[in-house]
Symmetry: D2
Subunit: 387 residues, 4 copies
Amino acid sequence: MSASSGRHFLQIPGPTNVPDRVLRALAQPTIDHRGPDFAELALDVLRRVEPVFGTSGPVVIYPSSGTGAWEAALVNTLSPGDRVLAFETGHFATLWRDMAEGLGLVVDFVPGDWRHGVDPAVVAERLAADEQHRIAAVMVVHNETSTGVTSRVPEIRAAIDEAGHPALLLVDTISSLGSIDYRHDEWGVDVTVSCSQKGLMLPPGLGFNAISAKALAAAERARLPKSYWNWAPFLEANERGFYPYTPPTNLLYGLREALSLLESEGLPAVFARHDRHAAATRAAVRGWGLEVLCADEREHSSSLTAVLLPEEHDANKVRQIILDRFDMSLGAGLGKLTGRVFRIGHLGDLNDLTLAGTLAGVQMGLELAGVPVDPSGLRAALDVLRG
Amino acid sequence: MSASSGRHFLQIPGPTNVPDRVLRALAQPTIDHRGPDFAELALDVLRRVEPVFGTSGPVVIYPSSGTGAWEAALVNTLSPGDRVLAFETGHFATLWRDMAEGLGLVVDFVPGDWRHGVDPAVVAERLAADEQHRIAAVMVVHNETSTGVTSRVPEIRAAIDEAGHPALLLVDTISSLGSIDYRHDEWGVDVTVSCSQKGLMLPPGLGFNAISAKALAAAERARLPKSYWNWAPFLEANERGFYPYTPPTNLLYGLREALSLLESEGLPAVFARHDRHAAATRAAVRGWGLEVLCADEREHSSSLTAVLLPEEHDANKVRQIILDRFDMSLGAGLGKLTGRVFRIGHLGDLNDLTLAGTLAGVQMGLELAGVPVDPSGLRAALDVLRG
Amino acid sequence: MSASSGRHFLQIPGPTNVPDRVLRALAQPTIDHRGPDFAELALDVLRRVEPVFGTSGPVVIYPSSGTGAWEAALVNTLSPGDRVLAFETGHFATLWRDMAEGLGLVVDFVPGDWRHGVDPAVVAERLAADEQHRIAAVMVVHNETSTGVTSRVPEIRAAIDEAGHPALLLVDTISSLGSIDYRHDEWGVDVTVSCSQKGLMLPPGLGFNAISAKALAAAERARLPKSYWNWAPFLEANERGFYPYTPPTNLLYGLREALSLLESEGLPAVFARHDRHAAATRAAVRGWGLEVLCADEREHSSSLTAVLLPEEHDANKVRQIILDRFDMSLGAGLGKLTGRVFRIGHLGDLNDLTLAGTLAGVQMGLELAGVPVDPSGLRAALDVLRG
Amino acid sequence: MSASSGRHFLQIPGPTNVPDRVLRALAQPTIDHRGPDFAELALDVLRRVEPVFGTSGPVVIYPSSGTGAWEAALVNTLSPGDRVLAFETGHFATLWRDMAEGLGLVVDFVPGDWRHGVDPAVVAERLAADEQHRIAAVMVVHNETSTGVTSRVPEIRAAIDEAGHPALLLVDTISSLGSIDYRHDEWGVDVTVSCSQKGLMLPPGLGFNAISAKALAAAERARLPKSYWNWAPFLEANERGFYPYTPPTNLLYGLREALSLLESEGLPAVFARHDRHAAATRAAVRGWGLEVLCADEREHSSSLTAVLLPEEHDANKVRQIILDRFDMSLGAGLGKLTGRVFRIGHLGDLNDLTLAGTLAGVQMGLELAGVPVDPSGLRAALDVLRG
């Protein structure tokens, strides 16, 4: 246990800071998962989580990490040998591709530079070229947690429609849900994948699939083997507020409380807050004279910002100094960005002064690490926050 | 939220009562899962959980229910079309069989009457008959949560050895681990499956696989598709205290605290306590003039007792009365035992007076339901408890 | 930290078992005691605590034990040398007398046998004899925590009225408030003294004074020195939801939650529950062949029962055995009852099965201590509980 | 409940931010205050709190606010009509004077300008003039919470000694204990008064008196009436780990945890941290072009800083803007400083980034309120923090 005073600054792009109220909710006594109180809890959260996905359809909540929810999206809708279209937007898109291949799918993986989102024009082109409709699904990471780039799902949807292609649209919202505007139904997404430990402000341990009618129909035909991830027994048991196996009761307590917080603030206000914090963070980065990794103004993430360092500086050294001196965790560069970037998480349960403290810590850490920065960066961020 | 006063009596055979200390531990702030504090936590619990399984080998801890750990045991060690030997000891053995078949395994399912455990003689006989060693694994539920019958794993092991058969031994300890004596290494078990919400006194959300060297070798050859459940990336990441995907941090906090409780009481004392509580419960049941479902004195479960009612009485009606009048949850009869039995959980964080209150509630509930019982049953239990 | 499993049985007559919800409420972050959120909290609890006292007048809540609230009742209403009438109903009445004398009051202390409450006839007689109205106040302990005897306040009120005497009526409800029917306004009580750790189901740390208009008028003239306990600055600051000095914020969080629990169950149901549990406890005691200390059927306490042992047995030895073997705390005999009685608390957050477990533990402990008891005692209690 | 996201910034000079670990400790179940576990708790905290006061003598811990501990210091050592010497260093010194007068003491109150601490030369002069030794005690507020001025107790002690005067030295350390170096024994203090909700990082509800041998001797002769505050029964009961009345069990749980935190960081490191945070805060204030209220460089408080605004600005308006826009509480100007100053608390559980966020919020709030400030103030603070 560390001897440091005060609260740790957890400014990675998830797990995010869990609100005190949610932590206390987790500590409620576990109850009978076959009894009436549990059914009431489950029905309540299943109903109230739908608007967060922007859907009126079913949402399955697994006792799992988000990785499990990735797998669930694939095994419920696809069959061995199915072709899917995916995009190298960053580390997590690559991992999802690896999983798809490991499960026996054939992945068309469009290369990328890890600084841009999915290009809707490429989607249109690839689908148009697929005249025999052999592509069964398009896999998109909405917000690349490794890069801070947000793909434009409505434009991707439009591209699919334009091509008149029947492929399913599978979207990973792991680091966007509850932080960045997202609309499962309106955008015609078929499976939305998410998890608990980011915008939902919970500890890790819940995986989510929001499911369209088209995805449900696909599930009837899908032949990838599945047991734990099988939607069918969930949808049946959930009707009465139960689970096909022992449910993650205490995390559902936390979810109920977290949903109350989101409802109390209101989703539009939540999204506006994230937009504002992201803008302030970019103002700081640019004020310091550093580069934001995301290369397209239309694709800046509102939940995290990846900061590119000059080549001669090691981002992990900066992170270590900041952890040691200021008790703050930042996200590392992942995969081919290792050592090149660090990532500032500004999603979940956060306010202006915590962001100000965060950016002050980054500024001091950069200075201590010998990275040349203009200290007016912090002030530029405050100008945004002050409004 | 119920208006009733006092603490709910959660006397189902799991989830069990989570100790206050563990509940508070769950409420610690979530930390960076790639930072040094997490690594320290993970290495600590991975090391300290081994003795609970009676192993010095690796234990994988999944963010999942126990059902996931069932699946993990199968997909990591077996290939499509593999033959496995399983036994109809009750509802959960049947579900595990169903899963195995769903995953593409061929199951030899030895029928049973749900009142006995696995018969070691049948194991010996079946394996001896399998001269070509086509049976790849023997699947055993150590403690059948649906019946309160504990199979004799050492004798099963001896039967396998006697037959000179190379089959893997896969054992489900979901409702026995941390409650009933169990020895993964000594008994030559290859994969031990367990979960958090029973003897480990945690909320649901963690699945466990303890893995023998033989199972690790089998995993090299196993061809069932797997991603989330794949041992290999776990074993590699766990070496340094990390996870292949986002770990269930707050449940690991709880696990650390629960392990401290088990260590503080000492496993032999924990097992003796469960034995004593089970004996007291059986004394009550027999004192009431009712029948314990388990039909073999060598196989009584120390973690739960299933009580068989006279045919003309509905066990669910008894349970409902007890829930309504005494705020106590008991386990229902499952599968073909629905309405015929109710189950008293006496595992996990429990003491003599809570058991006395439990049995008093059962006695009063039976009386209120019009089941003819001899009220000296409770007193017989107290005679056991008083010693 | 004890190695014992399960939840400790805290069956002393206070501090009582604090409900989980209240414990979690205590753990909310402390806030600015001069800010709007605090004012809202304070106004809320001050308003909602009134019905628990049966008053529509002011209630002062001190950061103190109940002993402080005793002192507050005296120093706010009386002057040095004032004469008060008090009654030796037990240990706590004697301590309150000692305090009054220590503060410079002259106490007429009517002797008692510690098995009866205040005799209204003696009140009438003493006041009638005080023709010059030199007695400034009558001090009554509503429920003697040391004996389990409840004095009949309405009859005492009637006796005062009958005598036409202007004395103030000061009543200690420390172990009755929120457990036993009590009506400050209707019964014409002038100061009601109470505290947090009994029927209010909170940890110790709050002292209460409910104050009549007559007491407020008396306070104008009272000349005992006072600072911390002075009502006047409280009444002024409380108007706007503030405190004259730093308030006990976290205990007020707990109080808010505890009031919600009482409101949810409803005070009449709360009182009926206590009456029923007390009846069951007396049935057990008598069934064992032992004697309840309280000697008047009209005065049995519904919040605790003192059990008188045969002379040759040491009640403290029984308590020690019960603590060691069954992890249950019972109340000791106090003052001249040391070793002669033990006290079973059955107030606060309690249900039938916890009471059954409690009485089972007492029965087993008596047997282990060699006190001859008829084991049908427990069954007699269950007959009451089952109804 | 506010809809705002993130953690409230509680930067008043107490109550301070209670660490999560302490909040969870508060939520432990209340235990029997006459049992062995309580005795162990009480003996542990009584022993471990001594070094925080810098004493090896007794410390009494009351269930009370700090105001109660003020009263205790007076009533245990003094008699009606006794003369005491006190100093108008600010609002709280004035309130303590008022209390002393209310209790019947005669106070020589040396006027002050609320920008300086106690002048040791004046102490020397007044005591030298008191040839008949009629002054029974010198009352000093170590750290004036209303002004951010720390009096130099060692020099005051030297002044008393120089005068050869037998007066007791009574010191209020309410907002310095555990934050600013303090040594009860070494500095020859007779009664040190403190409370829980500042440097001890607890909720309000505990009052403390550390007591010298000379004070104990004075207590033998002191004739102010006392009951609740009487040291004698405390010192006797505390010997065995008990209390003369019901103790504040859950706050003592919190105290135990808070003492662990202080021990883990180490008192010298704790004091150095507070000094550094105070220096950073003053750097910000001066950088903004504003004035620190404390007028003597030797007397700057390390636990809070009072900021004087230009006459035409209302400090309460600034505070309101900061509360509304940035969810941060600051301390108001008290008494004659109302509207003229606001106070930044930087004591207790605090780290560099929270202080940076705090100062960023103050800077933005001043700007929004139209107070002319130089925005390089924050940067000056970061220069101090970065080192």
